[in-house]
């Protein structure tokens, strides 16, 4: 059971994301560079963002009942047209990046979803478990300035589900409540057309197609445990790149979600496609890569299942892009049991392959994509694997830390002379030191699942001015598929830090100054975090914010990137604030800059030797370089 099965509910509308952008640039994390008047700071398109995420003008479009029938009008079911909204009576949720070096797994934190009648009566409420972007794919909107070209998907689980008193009056709620496990529901949100141009009315808004369905124990939380369809068509347009689908042999149904991949032509998700589309089963294995050249299939190559009836402009808004095919024949079901589903467009040249199922029907994916670890923290990585939608057993999955990445530009000392132009510090490498994390290199799926332990080891500021390190672990298994997106786990391992016995201002000044620089909204409107006296004046509210549960929308820091010991140090300082005299300034040294590979020994420059020595002096340990 999942959002792809029945019963389910489709909604669509806008979302608001007031993300902050100063922290999109690694150089801005360098306090000295930031403070240098000669620096040419980049602050992005929304420097005063407050990280707020919320639903806006989202309405129920259709419901599909347990028996597969669908209601699409308020006359058929008064649930159609009712409203999806965010939290009531608490701060709205937040959307935050993991790190400037990993901005592709932005997570929702503290987001509540409510379904209300038009009179504001609560029917359903739940808390979205912190979900990260997945399945990023191109979703260009032609002729619109400042629009994000990528669409993404959040799949998650609603927990703490509360049913309103009136919910019992709706057939849909009766059914979904009886089918789902515990106080949980599954949720999928395909988002795109996010506008980043502050001169336009829809600035900060994007479009969303959402689906709420059932959730079953033993299933992944952050993706639907089904099959996958990958785009193979013209790579420059990259349409139908990633879509999820489920085949239900018992009910003889096929359910495909094109809501994340269907081409759109405007900010509202009007369809941008004209060729007839068909779903079919391939009669032979296909391994096509995404390519510019069209792949024409002959009618011998496939067996048509059904057309995709998308013809109206507002088809995506009304259906969320969910294609629902019933009454599959025995022969189609047999074919689908171990052959690839394909999506074809009918053109003058013939049937063009637009998308094909994963090679051999494999889908091996980590559930949680993001981990935040301190020294000594342990976590469990859950990996699920399926073939043709069935759980895999005796299949090996591999975890690997790819070579050190992103040492792309040379770095220089920040100049302290305002008259000299200065170069921003370079992009620090990630995935180093490689002994920062401990995890098994492989594991075996049984009944579609395996769990691996992940431990964060002590690291000592390998990126110097950005706390901790980003590790991106590649997850692979079964066969490679060039059309499939990379499956990765992103870890922010925080630098080793001890809580001082009696913290003084200079113990916390470096990271409080950094927050002040990066989150202008705090300094401008609430409290200048780099001013110890301002912190003391707002001590009570700050202690409140720094002691919230991480799932609380008011948790500080909003980015959730502070190690526990640094958080405790802030609290300890606020309780007994001692402002010491600033120490003599230590020149900012570059992060290790060399393009590092796993094999080549690195010759340190003089600056790097200084950095290594300094690190050793401060921490008793030389920075690890491999």
């Amino acid at each position: 059971m999942s959002y792809l099965q029945y019963p389910r509910l489709v909604f669509s509308g806008d979302f608001l994301a007031d993300v902050s952008t100063v922290n999109n640039y690694t150089a801005n994390f360098d306090n000295d560079y930031f403070a240098n008047p000669a620096g040419q700071l980049e602050k992005g398109w929304n420097p005063e963002g407050g990280a707020v995420f919320n639903f806006q003008d989202c309405f129920v479009q259709q419901v599909t009942y347990l028996d597969g029938s669908t209601a699409t009008t308020p006359q058929a079911d008064s649930l159609i047209g009712q409203k999806i909204a965010g939290a009531s009576g608490r701060a709205s949720g937040k959307l935050v990046d993991l790190d400037p070096s990993q901005q592709m797994v932005s997570q929702l934190w503290g987001v509540c979803l409510r379904l209300l009648t038009q009179d504001g009566v609560l029917l359903l409420q739940g808390d979205i478990e912190p979900a990260a972007f997945r399945d990023l794919q191109q979703r260009p909107i032609p002729n619109v300035k400042g629009v994000q070209q990528l669409g993404v998907t959040w799949t998650s689980r609603l927990k703490n589900v509360v049913w309103g008193e009136k919910a019992i009056e709706y057939r849909f709620f009766q059914e979904i409540r009886s089918q789902t496990d515990g106080n949980y529901l599954s949720l999928n949100m395909n988002v795109f057309a996010y506008l980043m141009d502050s001169t336009q009315a829809r600035f900060g808004l994007g479009r969303m197609f959402g689906t709420i369905g059932t959730w079953k124990a033993e299933q992944p939380v952050f993706f639907a445990p089904h099959r996958r369809l990958y785009g193979t068509s013209n790579i420059s347009q990259s349409v139908f790149a990633i879509s999820n689908f489920a085949v239900d042999a018992q009910r003889r149904t096929l359910s495909l979600d094109l809501g994340a991949s269907f081409p759109v032509k405007d900010l509202f998700g009007s369809v941008d496609y004209t060729d007839p589309l068909y779903l079919a089963v391939s009669n032979k294995p296909l391994t096509n890569r995404p390519a510019t050249r069209k792949k024409i299939l002959t009618t011998d190559d496939f067996t048509i299942i059904a057309p995709v009836n998308y013809q109206t402009q507002d088809w995506l808004t009304r259906t969320g892009g969910l294609v629902h095919i019933e009454n599959l024949s025995d022969s189609i079901l047999q074919l689908l049991a171990n052959n690839q589903l394909i999506l074809l467009s009918a053109t003058a040249e013939g049937y063009v392959l637009q998308a094909r199922e994963a090679i051999n029907g494999f889908s091996i994916r980590p559930d949680q994509l993001v981990y935040r670890l301190d020294t000594g923290n342990q976590a469990s990585i859950q990996i699920y694997g399926y073939q043709w939608g069935q759980p895999l057993s005796n299949t090996i999955v591999k975890l690997a830390l790819p070579p050190v990445l992103q040492a792309s530009s040379s770095t220089q000392l920040s100049s302290t002379n305002a008259s000299e132009p200065i170069t921003p510090p370079g992009e620090p490498p990630i995935n180093t030191p490689t002994d920062g994390l401990t995890f098994p290199k492989s594991s075996t799926l049984q009944q579609g699942k395996t769990a691996l332990s992940l431990t964060g080891n002590r690291i000592d500021a390998p990126r110097v001015y950005i706390d901790g390190q980003i590790y991106i672990i590649a997850v692979t298994g079964a066969s490679a598929d060039s059309a499939a997106p990379d499956e990765q786990i992103s870890v922010h391992l925080r630098s080793y830090f001890q809580v001082p016995a009696v913290p003084v201002w200079s113990d916390i000044a470096p990271f409080m100054t950094q927050y002040s620089n990066l989150y202008l909204i705090m300094s401008k409107y609430l409290v200048d975090l780099k001013d110890p006296n301002a912190l003391i004046a707002r001590k009570n509210i700050l202690m409140f914010a720094f002691t919230r549960d991480i799932n609380d929308p008011t948790y500080m820091p909003v980015t959730r990137d502070l190690s526990e010991n640094k958080r405790l140090t802030i609290l300890k300082w606020l309780e007994n604030p001692i402002i010491d005299t600033p120490k003599a300034k230590i020149p900012t040294l570059e992060a290790p800059q060399t393009v590092m590979t796993a094999t080549k020994p690195v010759k340190l420059s003089r600056k790097q030797q200084n950095y290594a020595l300094l690190t050793q002096m401060k921490t008793g340990k030389r920075p690890t370089q491999k």
Binding site: E48, D119, I541, F544, T554
Partner: protein, 342 residues
């Protein structure tokens, strides 16, 4: 022009024979305390970021006390067995508006940028029964002021309430952000009487001093400081021992955004950036009222959720004030403080 209440509100209090007959009066007091906060916040938000921090801080301290008063009255209503209503259309005035319980032709309160005119309004709201003359003549005929209304409530509670109040103690709201001297659970008649003293003194001062018992300057005189442009200081030569002869408190008008008075959602078309920002603001405002309603109706632990919303109100409010008005280009938008139905 001072803020005078309709006499029926005083009479209703005085006519009460049982505590349940005070519920509507206490609800009126909650609405009244709440109604002062949007105009005060609008004045604060009209300052450009990080400017006029001294004045900002003074108004902020008053807003905090108005929130305290709203909390105290809600606690009293709960203590008497009633149920405060915070999240309803009727709680939110449609500015420009008289304040709740005010006589119809009385003071009309606007949501507007900080100005001498707004300060006069604020002083009228907080005006004591007999303002102490601190080198300034402001003689009005004493009608029914807010202070008199609270005094009547106090007298009536004294008269008709049992020593141990009937409400559920679990509904009492306290907060680590207020001292236990100011905000305490109201369980007995004496607690209720003491709590009303706090409200009156913070707003008006004691009857002989512009200070409250803790030595803080009462709201009326704080606003008058801003109006006169000087701090109030002890001055033995002055009739009441104080004069506005202290350090100057100057406001640079260039630091104040020219807000469109009483900005309304309906004036801005759906799909415009202005409407977008207004909707965001009203959404947060409503969420805050919903949160407070829960807090005062049996879920006091939800008070903590309100702090994040208060931050958001400020954030969205100040961002709104920085946004040019499309209807009249000489203005910026003002915070709307409207109750928008779901």
């Amino acid at each position: 022009m001072a803020l005078f209440l309709k006499s029926e509100f005083i009479h209703r209090v005085k006519a009460a024979n049982q505590v349940s007959e005070l519920y509507s009066s206490l609800q009126g007091a909650i609405e009244l305390e709440h109604s002062t906060i949007p105009p005060y916040l609008t004045a604060m938000f009209s300052f450009k970021p990080q400017t006029e921090r001294e004045i900002w801080g003074i108004i902020h301290s008053i807003v905090v006390e108005e929130m305290l008063h709203m909390t105290i009255v809600s606690n009293i209503l709960n203590a008497l067995g009633g149920a405060p209503v915070i999240n309803a259309c009727k709680v939110v005035p449609d500015y420009p508006s008289p304040l709740p319980m005010n006589i119809d032709e009385g003071l009309i309160v606007n949501l507007a940028a900080y100005s001498a005119t707004q300060l006069q309004t604020f002083m009228s709201i907080e005006e004591p029964e007999h303002p102490l003359e601190i080198p300034r003549d402001l003689s009005e005929s004493p009608k029914y002021t807010i202070g008199m209304f609270y005094k009547a409530l106090q007298d009536q509670i004294q008269l008709i309430a049992p020593d141990m109040l009937p409400g559920d103690p679990a509904k009492q709201v306290t907060s680590p952000f207020f001292s236990a001297d100011e905000l305490f659970p109201i369980l007995t008649k004496n607690d209720a009487l003491r709590a009303i003293d706090i409200i009156v003194e913070q707003g008006e001062g004691t009857s002989v001093l512009p200070l409250n018992e803790d030595g803080g300057i009462a709201h009326y005189y704080l606003f008058e400081e801003l109006y006169v442009g000087r701090k109030m200081v002890a001055d033995p030569s002055a009739p009441n021992g104080y004069s506005y002869t202290g350090a100057p408190i100057a406001c640079n008008p260039a630091n104040v955004y020219p807000l469109r008075p009483n900005t309304k959602t309906a004036d801005y078309a759906i799909g415009t950036l202005q409407r977008q920002r207004i909707d965001e603001f009203n959404t947060v405002y409503k969420a805050l009222l919903n949160c407070l309603h829960d807090t005062f109706n049996g879920r006091p632990e939800r008070l903590k959720d309100s702090f994040g919303l208060m931050f958001d109100i400020k954030l969205f409010g100040e961002k709104l004030c920085a946004l040019p008005d499309t209807i009249n280009p000489s203005y910026n938008l003002g915070p709307t403080f409207e109750w928008i139905p779901d």
